[in-house]
Symmetry: C2
Subunit: 224 residues, 2 copies
DNA sequence: AAGACAGTGGTGGTCTGACCACCAAAAAAT
DNA sequence: ATTTTTTGGTGGTCAGACCACCACTGTCTT
């Protein structure tokens, strides 16, 4: 028997002990953690307590569990916690504008970063994107933006942007349409030549077009 | 009996259902959630499953539990997860740069938004901040930035920034120090007069100072 | 009547043991 | 050698029990 007392948040202690275990055993990213039953035995607590700690860490994106296999140290770059936060934060409908605005913050930042950095703006990916426009005639808005944020190599920013984008898509299923070639080309060219001002101007025009379309669409079929 | 199947991450579904409950019942900050046993009955799952979801949300700082009383919607302050994250991420130092970079994206965006908007840059709060600098002689970096992001009225950006800020604070406990008056004043004045370029320049100088201090600090006491 | 006290019901915290679904590797059958 | 079956281990879930704690209530003392 011997039910453990709970002076304060036992599962939090487990979290810390897990950190120590990971550290001492030298478990690397993708490595396997001891099983829940082993941990319970080793830390002298019930399996459910161990699980509460593990689930918390999983929601934070620090570990990954696979049924039938085990628990693994996750690639920290996943930042899964952002999703849950977003879920809770976005309960208020008035925050839709905030979502779009925040998404643009990240988009603009990427455009600026690339325009200013000569090694970024000469990346071959821009050439191939331009070529694709010439061939197919159109390109998806988010594909282009995504490539840009990827180029900045800020994976957290990319993650946040991706989530905000998804949320926008659910709210109003626009955004997946193609865009005017001229605007895209203007922007890409400006970015490539390091003309930050022109790139941002083209971006703003682009946004305006999207916004106008969205408004018209929501007028056509207003569900509210 | 009738043990539930687990197509995928049952406790994650609970997290979502909890969000709906909070939404539909109109539970406000500090409000009380249904008890674990009631939730289990209502959602037709075991109590332990409910608890796994609750513990996850607690680590994220979204709810607060008091033994003998109940579970409450937290007033977003605790955010215990930040320390846990920092603890774990020490081993993957490259993601720290992403966090700092992303935080700056939001800070710069706020500075620009305020500089460009005449009704924002003439807010009385800037006057009182300047006055406070004259009196006390110093001001906390994050207080100023926070006021700026608040002024933009983008609550999502504020939320994200707040989280990233805490994250940085745990990682290297600098950042809470006061800053040079001249730089702060330069920036505030530039913002007030709508001089975006100057404001950003002052901001950049500021960042450089902080960065240099941080580097020196980590050189003084290198634990590695 | 006012305050101190013990009881009571509800809540979170934990443990146990059981069963299910799943997976990978070993063992058996072909 | 290849395919199939078995088996052991793993996470996922459940039910019921007990503990520690807290707010409330009704009683008892003064």
């Amino acid at each position: 028997m011997e039910i453990q007392k709970a002076p304060s948040k036992m599962y939090l202690d487990i979290v810390h002990e897990l950190r120590d275990i990971i550290k001492n055993e030298g478990i690397k990213t993708g490595g396997k953690l001891p099983s829940e039953r082993v941990l319970a035995e080793r830390l002298q607590v019930g399996r459910s307590t161990v699980r509460e700690a593990l689930r918390s860490l999983e929601l934070l994106g620090l570990i990954e569990t696979k049924r039938g296999e085990g628990t693994f140290l996750a690639d920290f770059q996943k930042h899964q916690f952002v999703e849950v936060l977003a879920d809770f934060i976005m309960q208020q409908p008035e925050s839709v504008d905030d979502v779009n605005e925040t998404r643009r913050i990240h988009e603009i930042s990427a455009i600026k970063a690339i325009s200013r950095n000569s090694s970024l703006r000469t990346l071959p990916v821009w050439e191939s994107l331009l070529a694709k426009i010439e061939h197919n005639g159109e390109i998806l808005r988010e594909d282009l933006i995504r490539e840009m944020i990827i180029a900045t190599e800020n994976r957290l920013s990319l993650k946040i942007w991706f989530l905000l984008k998804q949320y926008s898509m659910v709210r109003f299923d626009a955004m997946t349409h193609g865009v005017e070639n001229s605007l895209v080309k203007d922007m890409l060219q400006a970015v490539r030549s390091g003309n930050e001002i022109a790139a941002l101007a083209a971006y703003k025009k682009w946004i305006d077009v999207v916004e106008r379309e969205r408004r018209e669409k929501s007028n056509d079929s207003r569900h509210f």
